[in-house]
Structures are given as structure tokens and as C-alpha cells.
């Protein structure tokens, strides 16, 4: 059985892992490589590294840490942040990243998704979507440049339409960041994730809102997502990955069990 994935997300700024509340007021959580190693050995199924400043201040991802991570990590990892061309994506994949995640640049230039798909294959292309529930319009709206509170912009896309558009263009996976929930640890946005799930035929990763073990159980069992991404609950030691995976397995969610070598 394909296991559901637990994915710690490490927001990176200037080579350090940081975490903000609703995308603002970032605190430094620690150095990137030891944290990556720690999560991999604790049973994380995959890691995501977001260079949160890259898109908003027109830099590309600082590439040196990608190879440092590739050297110590033996599970898949994805790199996001300011990747705006096929060439930049190629550099990051060549340094050992398994996937690249595109968010704001895909909104600015949707054709980039097609180009990345044709060059590297669908399996490498993750589309991150920052989605905000607008109480006035009662719609889910897509935002860009969310790494910098002063530059964050609403786009003309409604979330469900953008989810369909990126799949047509060749996305291999979608990470849905539910902005209303981000960093506040009140639970994943099950209603929104269920709605997105209905129009999403590629793997869907839930992001934003994890605060306790039951939040993970809800998102897998109710929204049928393929993976759950979380940051602060892991960085702040609120949840231990091993205990989380054990609790989820007991709740009927398929979890990867550790490899134990057999003696021959």
C-alpha cells in the first residue's frame, strides 16, 4: 500500500530555518543541515525547503545549501523559491533536489509549468498554491509573493480554477497552503482541501494549520490528501514525528514502517 506522507517544511531565509505566524514575523529556528538530518532520521517521509524571500525580492534560491542537504539526506526533498526558468530549475535538480516547487513565478508566467514539464518530466514539478478564504466573497483566492508581507498580492485566480489549470499544464503534485490557517495550529482547512481534492488528480499535499495529532488524522481521513506538510509543530517539538506516525497508523492511516535488516 502506498503510505501517506508526513512532510516537515523548512522555511529558509539566508541559510537559516525560520517560521512566521501567518507568513509574518519570522523567528530563527535553527541551522538548515542539522535540522534536515534530524527530521530524516526521525522518520519524515520527505522534506520541503522554501526560500521564502527569494520570489519577493527577485533573487533566486541560494543554491549552495541544496548540495549540502543532498549530501546528508537519503529521503526525497523538494526545493522552492524564486525558480523562474528551466535553467534555474535544472541547476537545482542537478545539485540533488528531487523536485522543484513553483509558486509565484507560475502565476506570473504559467507557460513555465509546461516548459518544466517538457524538460524534466511531470514527477519533478510541484506547484505551491497560497490560497486565502475571502469572507466577503466566500471564495478561495490565490495570492503570490507571500514570503514578504509588504509585497503580497492577490491574483485574479480562484483556487479551484488554478488547481485545474496547473494540472493541464503538467504539474505532478500540488501543495495547497491554506493561508488563513498558516502557523496558527488550529487544524488543516478540511473544507477547502476536500473541495480541491475533487478537482485534483495528482498527489495533493495539505499545508497550514497543523497543531496536534488529531489534525493530521482528520486531514488524511476526511480530505484524502496524499501528504501533510507542517512546520512549527515539528520545529517547536510540539509533535514528535515517530509518535505522530504511530498514532496515525493506529487510526488506520497507512504509514511507512521503518526498515529493519534481516539477518541472512
Amino acid at each position: 500500500m502506498l503510505a501517506k506522507r508526513i512532510i516537515p517544511c523548512l522555511d529558509v531565509r539566508d541559510g537559516k530555518v525560520v517560521k512566521g505566524v501567518q507568513f509574518r514575523n519570522h523567528e530563527i529556528m535553527g541551522d538548515i543541515v542539522p535540522l534536515a538530518e534530524l527530521y530524516a532520521s526521525a522518520g519524515a517521509d520527505e522534506l520541503v525547503f522554501y526560500d521564502i524571500t527569494a520570489s519577493s525580492d527577485a533573487r533566486t534560491v541560494d543554491k549552495s545549501w541544496v548540495s549540502r542537504i543532498a549530501e546528508v539526506i537519503d529521503i526525497p526533498f523538494c526545493v522552492a523559491g524564486g525558480i523562474k526558468s528551466v535553467q534555474e530549475a535544472g541547476h537545482i535538480l542537478a545539485m540533488g533536489a528531487d523536485k522543484i516547487s513553483i509558486n509565484s513565478p507560475a502565476l506570473t508566467n504559467p507557460e513555465l509549468i509546461n516548459q518544466l514539464h517538457d524538460e524534466f518530466g511531470q514527477q519533478c514539478i510541484v506547484i505551491g498554491i497560497d490560497s486565502f478564504f475571502n469572507e466577503n466573497t466566500q471564495k478561495y483566492e490565490v495570492y503570490k509573493f507571500t514570503g514578504d508581507a509588504t509585497r503580497t498580492q492577490q491574483t485574479h485566480w480562484h483556487t479551484l480554477e488554478w488547481v485545474q489549470e496547473v494540472q493541464l499544464r503538467g504539474a505532478g503534485e500540488i501543495v495547497l497552503n491554506c493561508m488563513n490557517q498558516d502557523g496558527v495550529r488550529q487544524g488543516y482547512d478540511i473544507t477547502q482541501l476536500k473541495a480541491v481534492r475533487k478537482v485534483c488528480a495528482v498527489p495533493l499535499i495539505a499545508s497550514g494549520g497543523a497543531g496536534n495529532v488529531s489534525h493530521f488524522e482528520e486531514v488524511f481521513n476526511q480530505a484524502d490528501v496524499d501528504g501533510a506538510l507542517a512546520a512549527s509543530v515539528f520545529h517547536k517539538d510540539i509533535i514528535q514525528i515517530s509518535e505522530l506516525k504511530q498514532a496515525l497508523a493506529e487510526a488506520g492511516v497507512v504509514m511507512r514502517t521503518p526498515y529493519i535488516k534481516t539477518e541472512s
Binding site: M1, E46, A70, E173, R256
Partner: protein, 200 residues
């Protein structure tokens, strides 16, 4: 004397992670598209990420098709590298791409009903315990997969995986081995498989 491990430079994207995984096991690894160096290696890896058409074009342009077909030392194809080992692949806009024809079989798009494609994540692999590649790896061990095409089960299947339907997780014929999953991204289990390959 340390053995010569060569990764064929197919021009595909996951070469670094395969190289690093082998280096972690203490191997010294050469990434090359030089036919002489490939022929003289003790172990050869054929990595691959991307599409079969692009990869076969790249191998063809480097004039390496015949070189790979003539190898007699252990060769391990990884993911797309495994798919390139069979006769042909349907992963093509024009219908079918001729592959390296090292192992009978063909690559087809996965039929998954309501489930998602790509097949992405950790899935259990059922192994034939007697196969040297899976020495020390228990049945139902999790490996990391990411693909939308697969090779169906055949008499050359040495490990199988199931996603809506069963498919070949590993193939073997003579000195040619292939794994659909990514051992370089499959933690300790993947490291054990690579160690097994290096000691063949």
C-alpha cells in the same frame, strides 16, 4: 583494490543523488559518457529521470546504445533507467520508443482507476528472497517511488509493487538489474540494496 563504479551520464537530472548515495557507502564513483570507461567499470549504473524518448535520444546521440548492450558486468538501471532496459516504451507523444532491449518487456502507462498519478511516495515491495539484490531486505519493505509508467509483471520480475494493480518493482536478466523505485532516496533500505549491488 577498490572497484570502479561508473554512472552513465545520460544527461538526466538525478545523477547527483545516485552518486552521493554510492559515495556514502564508500565507493569512488565516476560519472561519464566515455564508452571506454563504461566498458572497463566493475559496476555500471544507468540512472534516469524524465521521459523515455528524451533519454534514448541522449544515449543515442552519445553513441552509447551498443556499448550498454554489450556490457557483461553487473548493470543497475534506476527508475527511468530500468524502463530503458526493456524493449520499448509507450511514454512518447508519437506512440512507442525503442529502448535498449536488454530485458524482454514493455513500458506502459499505469492504470490506476480512481487513484492519483504520478504514483508518488513510499510503497511496499514484495521480493523474491533468493535474489541477491534484495539480500537482507524483508518482504514488504518500503521504497520511494515516483513514476506514471511501469513495466508489467513478467518472468523477469524479481520484486513487485502494487498501486491499483501489481507491476514490476525490480527486473533482472543475466547481468542486467533494474529497479523502478529510487534506492538513493529510500533511506536505509535503499542503501542496503545499493550495497547488495556493489557486492554482486
Amino acid at each position: 583494490m577498490q572497484q570502479k563504479v561508473v554512472i552513465i551520464n545520460t544527461g538526466c537530472a538525478n545523477i547527483s543523488s545516485v552518486r552521493i548515495a554510492l559515495e556514502r557507502l564508500g565507493s569512488s564513483v565516476l560519472v561519464t559518457d566515455d564508452a571506454n570507461l563504461i566498458q572497463r567499470a566493475d559496476k555500471v549504473l544507468l540512472p534516469g529521470v524524465g521521459s523515455a524518448g528524451a533519454a534514448m535520444r541522449s544515449i543515442g546521440q552519445k553513441d552509447l546504445i551498443h556499448t550498454v548492450q554489450q556490457l557483461s558486468q553487473p548493470v543497475l538501471g534506476v527508475c527511468l533507467g530500468m524502463q530503458l532496459m526493456v524493449e520499448h516504451s509507450h511514454e512518447s507523444k508519437t506512440g512507442s520508443v525503442a529502448c535498449l532491449n536488454l530485458i524482454p518487456g514493455e513500458v506502459v502507462r499505469m492504470q490506476v482507476n480512481e487513484q492519483r498519478l504520478p504514483h508518488m511516495g513510499w510503497n511496499t515491495v514484495s521480493t523474491a528472497a533468493s535474489n541477491a539484490l534484495f539480500q537482507g531486505i524483508p518482504d514488504k519493505t518500503y521504497f520511494y517511488f515516483v513514476h506514471s509508467f511501469c513495466v508489467q509483471l513478467s518472468s523477469f520480475t524479481v520484486a513487485c509493487c502494487e498501486y491499483a494493480r501489481p507491476f514490476s518493482a525490480a527486473l533482472m536478466k543475466d547481468n542486467f538489474y533494474g529497479v523502478q523505485f529510487h534506492p538513493e532516496r529510500s533511506g536505509e533500505a535503499g542503501a542496503q540494496l545499493l550495497r547488495n549491488f556493489l557486492t554482486l
